[in-house]
Symmetry: C2
Subunit: 455 residues, 2 copies
C-alpha cells in the first residue's frame, strides 16, 4: 500500500465480531435473552451480520472444529460449516468482512484456495481465512487417524499449505481474461499458470479453476499464540486473534509479535493484533455485574469441568469443585492448544482460584478477557489497550446473542466513535481496505519470465 492511502495521521482501531450460536458464555443458551432454538436458522445469523454491519465493524468471524465440541448435553454446539454460512451472509450485507476458520491439518489446499476465492468473488472482496492447525484427537478420528499430528508438524504442514494456497490464488493474473469474442479468445493462456508444487505434504499442479479474486488474496488470519504459532503468524498472518488476560501480558505479546515481522521483510503495519474481549454490558456497573452473576449462576459445573479438562489436557472429573487445581503437565507435553493451556494454568495460579472459581472465570470467554461494565467503562478498557501498545483492535465476543452484540453496537461503538477511535462510515469496499492492508501483488507474475502457459 502506498503511504498516501495508509492512515498514518490518525490510527483507528479495528473491531471483529466473533459470532457463536447463543453467545460466548457457556451458559448463554439458558439465558432468557438468547434464542438457542435458532442456531440452525439462517435468518438468525443474517440478523447478527446485519447488526455488526450497522455498527460499521470490520468483520464477522466464525470459529470451527471438525468434531462435535464438548459435552453436547449442556451446550448449544454444532452448527453450520462456516464457508457455506458466510456465503449466505454475503448476500444480505454490503461492506462487512467475512472470516471463516479452515484447518490446514484436515483439508486439501486446492479445495481451500478455491472456496475462499469463491467467497471473495461472491462477496465482492470481503473474504478472510482464519488458519488453524486443529487441536483435538476427536477431530483426527473423523479423518481416519487415531492420533493427532504432533504440534510442530502441524505447523510445518500449515506453512506448506499456505504456500500452495497463495500460489493457487496467483495462478491467474488479474487481467488474464480477454473476452475477445471476435477472435474467439477467452483468456490469455500466458497469464494462467500451473504452479507445479511438489513438497513434503502436497503435490498440486494447478492452475486453480477460479480467476483471481477481488482481494487477490483473501485476508490471512491466525489465532495460535504458542511459539510455533507466533512464528507462523509473523511470516503469514495479517490479523491475529489472541487471548490475553492482562495489559502487561498483552503488551508483551504485541511487542514480541511485531518484533518478529522485520525478519520476514514485513513492517509492523502489515499485521494487526486483535485480543479477544468478552464485554458484559449494563447501563450501570451494577446492572452489568448482575448480568455477569446471572450467567455464572446458569453454568453447569459438570460442563465447565469437562471444558477445563480439555483445555488443560488433564482429566479433572470427580475432583472437588472447591479445591485447587491438581498438578499439571508442562506446556511442551501439550499437543493441543499450547498457549491456551498456559494462559489458563497461569490464571489459576496467579489468582489462587478453586476449580469452581476458575470455571466461573472461563465461562464468558474460554480464556479470553471478560470486561464487565457500562459502555463508557468498556470503551475505556479498549482505549487503554489500544493506546498502550497492547492491541490494534479487538475480537469482540458477546457473552449472549443477539442482545450482547446489539448492546455493543448501539452503546459501546458510539462512545468509540465520539472519541475518534472508530470509523463512523465504511471508507473501503473490501476487508483488506477495512483493515488498512494492501492488495497483494501476484507473486507468480513477478517470477514468471520464461515459464510457459498452463492450459
Amino acid at each position: 500500500m502506498s503511504p498516501a492511502t495508509r492512515p498514518t495521521t490518525h490510527r483507528r482501531l479495528h473491531l471483529n465480531a466473533f459470532l457463536m450460536n447463543a453467545g460466548h458464555h457457556d451458559a448463554a443458551w439458558r439465558h432468557p435473552r438468547t434464542q438457542p432454538e435458532r442456531v440452525t436458522d439462517l435468518r438468525y445469523f443474517q440478523q447478527l451480520a446485519q447488526t455488526a454491519e450497522r455498527g460499521r465493524l470490520d468483520s464477522i468471524f466464525f470459529a470451527d472444529g471438525l468434531a462435535l465440541w464438548g459435552k453436547v448435553r449442556h451446550n448449544a454446539l454444532g452448527g453450520f460449516e462456516p464457508l457455506t454460512l458466510l456465503s449466505a451472509l454475503a448476500t444480505v450485507t454490503e461492506h462487512i468482512g467475512l472470516i471463516a476458520t479452515v484447518s490446514t491439518t484436515f483439508n486439501e489446499p486446492f479445495h481451500t484456495a478455491r472456496k475462499f476465492a469463491s467467497l471473495d468473488h461472491i462477496s465482492g472482496g470481503r473474504a478472510g481465512w482464519n488458519i488453524v492447525t486443529s487441536g483435538t484427537v476427536n477431530e483426527a478420528r473423523n479423518f481416519g487417524q487415531d492420533q493427532h499430528l504432533e504440534h510442530r508438524l502441524r505447523y510445518e504442514r500449515a506453512r506448506e499449505f499456505v504456500e500452495v494456497v497463495t500460489k493457487l490464488w496467483d495462478s491467474w493474473e488479474d487481467d488474464a481474461i480477454l473476452l475477445d469474442r471476435e477472435r474467439g479468445v477467452y483468456a490469455d493462456t500466458d497469464r494462467v499458470r500451473e504452479i507445479g508444487h511438489r513438497g513434503a505434504y502436497f503435490g498440486v499442479q494447478g492452475p486453480l479453476n477460479v480467476p483471481r479474486s477481488p482481494q487477490g488474496h483473501p485476508l490471512l488470519v491466525q489465532a495460535g499464540s504458542s511459539e510455533d504459532g507466533r512464528e507462523f503468524a509473523a511470516e503469514y498472518a495479517e490479523a491475529v486473534f489472541t487471548a490475553q488476560q492482562t495489559l502487561a501480558d498483552a503488551q508483551s505479546f504485541y511487542k514480541d509479535l511485531k518484533s518478529r515481522l522485520a525478519q520476514h521483510g514485513r513492517s509492523e503495519e502489515d499485521l494487526k493484533v486483535l485480543p479477544g474481549i468478552c464485554p458484559v454490558i449494563g447501563s450501570t456497573e451494577a446492572e452489568a455485574r448482575a448480568l455477569d452473576h446471572e450467567l455464572t449462576e446458569l453454568q453447569v459445573p459438570e460442563y465447565g469441568l469437562a471444558q477445563l479438562s480439555g483445555m488443560l489436557g488433564t482429566d479433572l472429573t470427580g475432583l472437588p469443585l472447591d479445591g485447587p487445581l491438581p498438578e499439571l503437565p508442562e506446556e511442551r507435553d501439550i499437543n493441543g492448544n499450547k498457549s491456551r493451556f498456559t494462559l489458563v494454568a497461569e490464571l489459576a495460579r496467579r489468582d489462587g482460584l478453586t476449580l469452581r472459581q476458575l470455571i466461573a472465570r472461563l465461562g464468558g470467554g474460554r480464556g479470553h478477557r471478560v470486561v464487565v461494565g457500562t459502555p463508557e467503562q468498556i470503551a475505556d478498557q479498549l482505549q487503554e489497550w489500544f493506546t498502550q501498545g497492547a492491541a490494534d483492535g479487538f475480537n469482540i465476543m458477546p457473552p449472549h446473542l443477539p442482545g450482547g452484540l446489539e448492546d455493543f453496537v448501539d452503546h459501546v461503538v458510539p462512545v468509540l466513535q465520539r472519541r475518534g477511535l472508530f470509523r463512523t462510515e465504511y471508507t473501503g469496499r473490501t476487508l483488506r481496505e477495512h483493515y488498512g492492508l494492501p492488495r497483494p501483488a501476484n507473486r507468480l507474475t513477478a517470477t514468471a519470465s520464461g515459464t510457459t502457459g498452463a492450459a
Copy 2:
C-alpha cells in the same frame, strides 16, 4: 412415502436446470446474447436461479471439476465452487432445489456430510448432492497423485463414502435437541451417536457436528451411466442425470436402471431418470435452426478437437477436420467417463460423421441430446420421451444463458403446463417433495438398541 402422498393418479415430469456459465454450447460466450463477463458475478447466478424458480422447475444444478476444464484459451470456464455458490443462491430463492456436484475421489466424507447438511439447513431442505467419482488425471494431479484411481476402485470408494456420509447425517436423531433451559440440558445424548466407521478407505468416528437437516438426507443424485455407474445408481441414487441420443437408447437405459432397483429393496418410483436435453428454441423452426447454425459457426475447431480428444481418450491433434475418426480404444481401456466415450464413439460411427461434423454435433450438449425447434416442438419431444418409458423428467441444458433459460421458462414450460405435464405451482417445500421422494428414516435410530450416547 405413504401411498396417500404419492401422485399415482397423475404422473408429472421433473425439470432440472443445469446452469453453466455463459451456456452449454461451447461457443456460447461468443454469442451476442450471453454475458461471459458476469461468470464471477453472483447476481448473474442469482438471476438465473430466480428465472428457474419462476418456471417452477424442481431444481438447479452445477457440475464441477477439480481442475481447470479444457482449453481456457477458447472458453469461459472456471468459476465458483458449487456449494459456496448454492448457499448464496439459497438466500434469494424460496422453493427451488439446489444440487451441487462433489467428488468422492478427492474429498473426505466428514466435510461433505457437513457441507450438505449446512446447505440443507440454510435452504430449508433444498439441498441435493450430485455424486461423482471424477474422471481426469488433471484432477488427480491437484491432489498429490500422478495417476487417476482406477474406475472400479473409484466406485468402491464412492460406495463407502456414501455409506459414511449417510450415517453421519443420521448421527443426530431429529428430536435430539431438548433445549431444557430449566435443567440445563441442551441435547439428549442418547440421541446423538458416534458412527464408529472403519472401512477400507475411511475411518470416521462421528457424530457429525451439525444436527439432522430438514430433509434428513439431502437428495442423492448420480450421473455415471457405465456398468459401475448404473449399479451405484441402483443402490444409492434418487435422481440420475444421463446422456442419451435416441429414444431407443433412452428407453433401454431407463428400463435397465429401473430393473436393477428391486434387488436393493427399492421400487421404481424411488429413482428418477432425467436425460439431459439442450433445447435450441426459436419462435419458428427456421429461427431455431438459424440460432443453432449461428452457434456452430462460432465454434473454434481447435477447442472442439481438444474436448473431443479428452472424451475419447485419444489425441486427435493435427488430424484433418473433414476426415473420419481414427481407430479408437475399447471402453474397458477408458479410465475416465466410460459411458460418454461409448456414446460419442457410437454417434460418430452410426451417422458416419467427420471430425468437423462430430464437433458441431457435440458443441451444444457435449454428448447430450440437442433438440432444435419451436416451444411446441420441444415440448413434443419431452412429452414423447416422458410417456414412452424413456424419462421421468429432464436435465435442461440451455445452449446460451441467460436467454436460453428464459426462453425455456417463458415458452416451453407454459406448453407443458397446458398439457398437464408439469406443475403450475410448487406444492412442496423441499427438494424431496418436488421430486415426490420420501424423507429417509434415521437408520441409526432403527438399529440403535443397546448403543451408548456419544458425547
